[in-house]
Symmetry: C2
């Protein structure tokens, strides 16, 4: 953006480039370890629109990378095919905005491999923040996570597909984010909706 149109920092009067003031946040969408309807641990199938919707939300809120996590080779090939269509194929010409979002996707076998990748970038492992639709006594509020983001320390926000992340994985995370609540007791948002709302709660402006 041209220098003159950059918003001024209210304290210092300096012009700041909003595009370079990115939060030190990474997002992962896990297809393992998640649970099915009965609570059994499964590997879920990749949903095409999860990739599109969450990559566009991630791009909107300035997240550094969007990791899609699946240990299944055929599912990894599917993800690669979807990304390629929109970043190298006909889709890139048809819809450049879609390309710039899907370019943020990185494919990994495990969440541990995601943490390694971030360590390679940041030279420190990220703290992990998990999301869960159920209330948890140890949960952390949005305000506290916003404060951590302001500190500049890297955070990895992990979303689960299917019926959510496995309890064993949740138990090992650094923070469990409070569930999203409206004025009802219904808490069955899609992972696409939940990821969008949580990014807005953490990073949205002009609310």
């Amino acid at each position: 953006m041209p220098e003159s149109t950059k918003p001024a920092n209210r304290l210092t009067g300096e012009r700041v480039n909003r595009l370079t003031d990115k939060p030190n946040l990474y997002v992962a969408l896990a297809h393992y370890p998640v649970v099915d309807k009965r609570g059994d641990i499964i590997t879920s199938a990749v949903t095409n629109l999860d990739l599109h919707d969450i990559s566009r939300a991630v791009k909107t809120y300035g997240v550094k990378a969007f990791y899609v996590v699946t240990p299944l080779v055929d599912q990894q090939r599917l993800v690669q095919k979807i990304i390629s269509h929109w970043t190298d194929g006909a889709g890139a010409v048809y819809n450049p905005a879609r390309r710039s979002a899907l370019e943020l996707i990185k494919l990994k076998d495990t969440i541990a491999a995601v943490a390694e990748d971030i360590n390679g970038i940041e030279t420190v492992y990220p703290k992990t923040v998990v999301t869960c639709a159920r209330r948890n006594t140890a949960s952390t509020g949005y305000k506290e996570i916003r404060e951590i983001l302001k500190s500049g320390k890297p955070l990895l926000l992990v979303f689960g597909t299917a019926w959510g992340l496995a309890d064993t994985f949740i138990a090992g995370a650094d923070y469990i984010l409070e569930p999203i609540m409206g004025p009802t007791d219904y808490n069955h948002l899609s992972v696409r909706s939940a990821a969008s709302i949580i990014l807005d709660r953490l990073l949205g402006t002009d609310k």
Copy 2:
């Protein structure tokens, strides 16, 4: 919920039932009049996951009804088939939470027919709030719309599919909601993400 577990109203000390304190808000998803990539007015096709994601968000935030608007008879049949599967068919047994969300869908030919339906319920026409990803000089902030919701007057929040609502329709609305912004200039969220975020901005709790 049992009487004893109802939260107390801080001012009056009375126990309030959160489930009955629903906002006087209606949501419509328009497939006409919307524009395509070139800005030409079209009727868009219905996307299955729009119905699922937005009905679940609408249910979460206590919206009174979710109108799906399309003038195309074959598309209306498709919507009806999807709803029936989850409300009467195998899906209703498999996933009751999905049923209670999709039950909020009402199918209408036009946005005018939606306003008529609401007038029949409320005995007054709703004010219309439209959403637009582009900045508009006449736009209204989230705080102002929250104030209107508190007044109890009925509001109809209209989302456009494809490349968004037609300008002629936007010009006739009572309020144009400010676009959703994060810390970047990218503003290409899916309608599923945008609807979820806007409902959370207007009605979310514990943020």
